[in-house]
Symmetry: C2
Subunit: 370 residues, 2 copies
């Protein structure tokens, strides 16, 4: 059976003061009244029934995630006692799903991006499932068709086309030639021009038994720990084993720990990439998030509160309180974010310094405003 | 007996969003943890006992004023049913005090300014009382010794010195030669150079019977109405008469309606000015208020909340919630004001446009945020 899993870990301090320790970026209501988690969930729901969608997140966020996704069966929330990087965040649901359904094929997606349109996401997802089902040794990644030479992303170089039977007849599935680290601008531009490189999406489809076999080979300690957890999962020992074992798993990313060695032919699996021609917006900073917001005639991007502007343009103005009035007079190119207990004001071109601010706030006030 | 009266009317939209319809400027806690009203009250308390200090304000603000001044006897609060400009705001307490004490001499002060040091205020007040007591036909105004050629203020030109016996022996009391409207810059500078002009403070001392006689001559309708109110004041008809009569009083300022004609010799009174060599800060705008606030090494003026600044200087940052964190990154010369339901961001050099913002907010949201 086909399953969908959303990885929803991480704090995202670059969207502070809205993103908080107890309310990470994925749970923020920021895009058309919905959270990134809700948008991710709805995307998967376009193909899969509710009982086959899982969320892997911090156990600390259980209540908030269940409140955000009222349709999610509580038993489909896999709560990490502590973050152990993405190799384990994908291996954990793979192990649990495999225990529950030895034929499970899983799609694992992120909740960091706005992805549109949904139809193209679904079409690529179907192709990836077809690859994983017809060529069971495949580890399938998604390649976002790049719009420009982005230097902040890894790239996937495609190789020969795969022969896959799909309902569309136009699979866009390829063998992966190589994964490429974040390039310099010149290299990035060359990648985009060539038409043979994609942005590495961090989303995957595979049979659970296939990815677990690869984990056993490349990351045996993770595989052993996750197997113990999966064996205890649907027993009364679930919490005890999870809490004892999970924190001991080696911290390593799925790219570095598994996909890259697999693409170098170091395991039994073959690595494939399915083209995903979508708009793929990282909303990991205020200016990036602003691209998803409604704007007025003066290009002020707004979300949340009530707004009155006098001679103000090109601002990003966000409140988590729909009744809070934010009023700007003669202000341009500024970010103004109002949270219940904190207000941030920062020029748009300095948004990368929000992380510095978070560090300074922590130094002065501890965790109080984080 | 000597009395002190504080006029505490007016909304002060230039300090919006902290100043509100139900919380006018005088009640804001903005200067070293105290409101302007409290500071005005303390100044008078330096000379007068609590039972001889009165406040004239909007009846709508009764509860807030009494909470602000716990020492004020409730019967010393004179509540205007509606604002009828300053001629009535000074005539009203004069009529009531005269009814209660036919020998009453009153000082009437404002709550719009920070005045320092208190000793010099008190010294001038004593001189003014001496003038009003020794020359009973006097209407005494206070002249602030000007520090620069301010074009936003009226001026008082002094004439010959008055012979008054005071404990200090150095009265600084003069006949008023003329009141002058707001001058242009060149004229204002000439006034200041001459040493014979003062800023018109809008504060006065006089015998109540003297000012009432002048009112009877120059503003007979006001005098008649206020006399009716005073006659009913300490009777069960107080509220009925007040509410029936006060709204019918002609709206006119004390300067235009009484002081200027009196200075032109059109009545029986003589008009005097007592020099008040104090720091006299109008806190009627955010930049003016900021001059009273504490500043950090980068000249950021702060009041109220918690603050963290990264590369930010010369800002004015105010919150009415002491626990609200305001964080600025790379921001200069900006006003950021956080009220419970509203945030204002505005460059310092555009602070005069806060009134425009208030008008626009009223247009869009009615009285909700006013």
């Amino acid at each position: 059976m086909q399953y969908g899993v959303i990885m929803a870990g991480g704090a995202g301090t670059r969207l502070w003061p809205l993103s908080r320790a107890e309310k990470p970026k994925q749970l923020l209501t920021v895009v058309r009244g919905k959270s990134l988690l809700q948008l991710s969930y709805e995307r998967l729901r376009g193909l899969l029934p509710a009982d086959r969608i899982y969320v892997c997140t911090g156990e600390a966020h259980r209540a908030a995630v269940l409140a955000n996704l009222p349709e999610l069966p509580p038993d489909n929330l896999l709560g990490e006692p502590t973050g152990r990087d993405t190799a384990n965040a994908v291996g954990f649901p793979a192990a649990v799903l495999h225990k529950r359904d030895p034929e499970a094929v899983m799609a694992i997606t992120t909740a960091d991006h706005v992805i549109e349109p949904q139809e193209k996401f679904i079409a690529a997802l179907k192709v990836a499932f077809a690859v994983a089902e017809q060529q069971p040794q495949s580890l399938v990644t998604f390649g976002i068709v790049p719009t420009h030479g982005h230097t902040g992303l890894g790239y996937v170089q495609r190789g020969e086309a795969l022969k896959v039977s799909t309902e569309s007849g136009a699979p866009g599935a390829y063998k992966v030639q190589a994964f490429k680290e974040k390039p310099d601008k010149q290299t990035a531009d060359r990648y985009v021009e060539s038409g043979r490189y994609y942005w590495n999406s961090g989303m995957f489809v595979w049979r659970c038994d296939t990815v677990l076999a690869e984990l056993a080979q490349h990351l045996p300690a993770s595989h052993a720990g996750l197997s113990k957890i999966a064996a205890a999962w649907d027993t009364p020992q679930r919490a005890d084993v999870l809490n004892a074992v999970y924190p001991t798993l080696p911290k390593i990313s799925i790219d570095y720990g598994l996909m890259e060695p697999a693409a170098l032919g170091k395991g039994k699996a073959t690595v494939a990439v399915v083209e995903m021609p979508v708009q793929w917006l990282d909303v990991g900073s205020w200016p990036a998030l602003a691209e998803t917001l409604r704007t007025d005639d003066q290009n002020n991007a707004m979300e949340g509160g009530a707004f009155v502007f006098v001679d103000s343009d090109d601002n990003i103005v966000v409140s988590e309180d729909p009744d809070h009035l934010i009023s700007l007079i003669g202000v341009s190119d500024m970010i103004v974010v109002h949270a219940k207990d904190t207000t941030l004001v920062c020029p748009k071109d300095q948004s990368q310094r929000v992380k510095d601010m978070v560090a300074k706030v922590k130094e002065k006030f501890g965790d109080r405003y984080l």
